[in-house]
């Protein structure tokens, strides 16, 4: 193991290139596996979406919209990739502060969707600040941890990232959006882990959080309590809160080994599966492509995780490593929570599935996330800074 690392370190010190060769080298070091996976998954997502809304006239425009968003997202990815991530951290504080202001704004007077105030309505375009907040938080958190490697060893290693992640988490919780808030928690843990906070302390934090959550139960909103009750027993309210999970499990289960084919599946096409093009797209995907398709898509997600792990490993500096760690945690959190929710393993929280769920701002955010990962991964060698 250490042999592989030392070779990487050696490489870094050996390579000297001039400015004109810089971008050439950058492109040569693009993580093509990652890029291929990202684009393939996004296209698979569009195909799944098309199959899910096939025959539902009211929903068919979402495919065209998603394709448009895909091109925008691709451009944003290119931009995020080209900009050296060390520039990103300069903008991070600004983006973070802006997002905090936006979160406060949505709590005061945002648009409400499904009981949570989380959107800012710009007419034709809606912005959900909690999405961009995740990336900004990863950047700011990583910046502090990178600048204070010794801090990870003492109490500041817990307190400072805790505050950086805790403030947006609390604001998101007030929307109220328990699912997104818990993503900030996972993000914080991942940054601490990679940043060098002792694992024993992280374990204590996790335990404390579980106990805290249990004691916070009486203070949850009624709909959140309801979701938890229904999570334990969906049949308690089959026509109401339990409906989504029941219908989602039916969709997944009826997919079988190979699925009912693209555009097939009565749960989606006859609209028994609610939110089947957004939050519950995975159920619709399984209904179409079955267990085999599901394993394939999960494997693709796992490959992305592998590429991100590799980016952490080869990152040129602590900042890069910790940013990617945080973003990887956010990504894994999204996948596990969403897929788990559609199969009744986790409570229903309204977290979309990367690449598959319909939604422009979410697709763009996902591409920004992977743009940063590629950015870090491609600049793994010491280059003369821009």
């Amino acid at each position: 193991m250490s042999g592989a690392f030392s070779s990487v370190v050696r490489e870094r010190e050996d390579i000297r290139v001039n400015a004109s060769a810089r971008y050439f080298t950058l492109f040569r070091h693009i993580d093509f596996t990652l890029l291929f996976l990202v684009i393939t998954l996004a296209l698979a997502g569009i195909a799944t979406l098309k199959g899910a809304v096939l025959g539902i006239a009211a929903l068919e425009p979402v495919v065209t919209k998603q394709i448009a968003f895909f091109w925008i997202a691709l451009a944003v990815l290119a931009f995020t990739f080209l900009l050296d991530y060390r520039w990103l951290n300069r903008a991070a504080i600004l983006v973070y502060t802006l997002n905090i202001c936006a979160l406060i704004f949505v709590i005061v007077k945002g648009s409400s969707v499904n009981g949570a105030r989380s959107w800012i309505d710009f007419g034709p375009v809606n912005w959900q600040p909690s999405e961009t907040m995740k990336i900004a938080t990863a950047l700011v958190g990583a910046q502090w941890m990178a600048l204070h490697p010794e801090g990870a060893r003492d109490w500041r290693g817990i307190i400072i990232p805790g505050i950086i992640c805790g403030v947006p988490a609390l604001l998101v919780l007030m929307q109220p959006d328990l699912g997104t808030a818990s993503l900030f928690f996972v993000l914080c843990l991942a940054m601490m882990l990679i940043g060098g906070v002792p694992r024993r302390r992280i374990a204590i934090i996790v335990l404390a959080a579980i106990m805290g959550l249990a004691s916070a139960y009486p203070f949850l909103k009624p709909y959140q309590k309801n979701r938890l009750i229904v999570f334990v027993n969906p049949e308690a309210d089959p026509a109401g809160a339990g409906y989504n999970v029941i219908q989602s499990k039916i969709a997944v289960g009826s997919g079988g080994l190979f699925g009912q084919g693209w555009g097939g599946g009565t749960q989606s096409t006859h609209r028994f599966l609610p939110e089947h093009h957004t939050d519950f797209i995975f159920a619709s995907f399984i209904e179409q492509f079955g267990f085999v398709g599901g394993v394939a898509i999960l494997a693709a997600y796992l490959l992305l995780v592998w590429r991100m792990m590799r980016a952490i490993e080869t990152a040129r500096d602590r900042f890069g490593a910790i940013v990617v760690a945080g973003l990887a945690a956010v990504f894994v959190g999204h996948v596990v929570e969403n897929v788990g929710m559609t199969m009744g393993v986790f409570p229903v929280t309204g977290i979309p599935l990367p690449f598959l769920s319909y939604g422009g701002s979410f697709l763009i955010t996902t591409f920004v996330l992977f743009g940063i990962v590629m950015n870090v991964a491609s600049r793994r060698y010491t280059l003369a800074g821009p």
Binding site: G253, T266, F291, G294, V332
Partner: protein, 596 residues
Amino acid sequence: MQYRSRPLRDFEHFSRAKLLAWAVVVVCFSLLVAQLLRLTVFQHEKYLSQARENLYITKRLSYPRGNILDRDGVVLATNQKTYALTFNPYGMKDAAAREALGKLGLDETELPESRVDEILATRPRWTRHTLVSGVALERVLPMLERPNDFPGVRVETGFTREYAMPEEFAHVIGYTSAIQPNETKAYPRPRYLPDDRVGRTGLEQRYQDELAGNPGRERLKRDARGARLDDPELLASSEPGKNLYLTLDSRLQKKAMELLRGEKGTIILMEAQSGAVLAMASSPTYDPRNPAGEQTLGMPSGYMNLATRGGYAPGSTMKIVGAATMLRAGADPLRKIICDGDFHLPGWGRAFHCAVRSGHGSVTLADAIKESCNVYFYEAGSELGAEPLFAMAREFGFEEKTGIDLPGERAPKLCAVENPGPGETTNLWIGQGSMLATPIQVARAYAGIATGSLPTPHVVAAIGLSDDDRKEIVTPHRALNVSAVDRAVIVDGLWRVVNERGGTAFKAEIPRAWDVAGKTGTAENPQGSNDAWFAGFFPRANPTHVFVVHIESTDKHGGEVAGPIAKQMIDAFLHPVSDAQVAGAPMAVAALPANP
């Protein structure tokens, strides 16, 4: 801002952190794959069938209940097509739903504001709220013609029961009402649905299965919004309800009810040989279209069919049983007894009185029947005791159900006490004391004495889908174990009751040509007044019909009250008036169309 390059320590730390991170990721993904495998492979069948259940909705087909017709084919009960409006606000905003409801033009009593709030608060995906039901076609025409103007609204068709002579036939035909929530086990799906109407009493209840038939089902493909997607697929076609063809004659039934107007009592006219009932009137009655308004004639217990459910002291009508008992015991019918108006039971302080206080003088058995001499029967009772009387009464069908095809028939005990003492026994011999019988039991017993065979009274002659499909109902007979000679003696007495001066029914002036034989009865009832009876048959020479008249709570003798009523009833039977002369009933009957 310049970052330091990563110290080697970082990588050593990372190699351990990476293991932990991978472990967490792998555990999570394994969990997901395991659950995915469970749902898609191991529970695939279950979820696939649930998905199909989602997709299809089976709908029961609406179809009419069978008709009920009298012996001449007059339709007594049929169905009227009615309409209901249902509403499903699924997928509608509150304001839009309110607007849609407002367009229906329902007034405050039909759709109060609280109901609107209730509808908007509970929004079932598939089940529909019934707004109004049982309305006529005019009310729903706009919704049928322009359905797009009334979002969420659907017009459902159903049937309500119509009765041609509701109050006259209420006790026989009964009524229908909606299945109550606690009855869903007795009336299970898919044959019955919660709002269905089922028979509650009378023939509607007794022949519920035949009248209701078997509903068909069709399957519709639909989506979550409730939209129907394909043409419905027929799973099972309806077996329509069967018609009941009654033995009853609506003209005679109407006449009987007229005769009972203002009284509490019963009239039965029955074929002596077959047991086919021509008229069975019970007063008071009720309106089966609105059974909650029970006390139509201002008297309580209007729901009860007194002919089959009323237990009364049979009084002197029971003397045919007493006489048969004596004759079987070997008594000489010509033996004379001197009646001085009183009977003294040995060791009993109080005297038992005869109907005529001054006494009947010297009487034979036939005289004792004709003049209803109690003393003749007191004497026999003190000799023979209660047991032979009970045995003979059972032979005549008392203490058992007659088997009439109406629900809730009673068969009261002959005597409320075990081993009655001498005083009670003496009373039992004249049909008093604690002895009880129903009018239909009395009618059957008189059919027995008239023909020598006990028929099973019945009101349904045949059942069938149409006049061509009639299946006649055969009812059993039981031979009456009383010799023809003994019967002749008793029948002679019964004939003299009506046709000889001094007979208790002579004053009713029933024409001798009708050849009626019968027995009056004046029974003391627990209320302290008398119940009047007159039971008999005609013509004596070849008995074809049995009649029973019973009037509760009168202060007169049986012959005085029940005799004239019976006379008019028999008159109506023997001399049918042409339809034109009977105002009302046949016209109303003609106006009622039968089911197709």
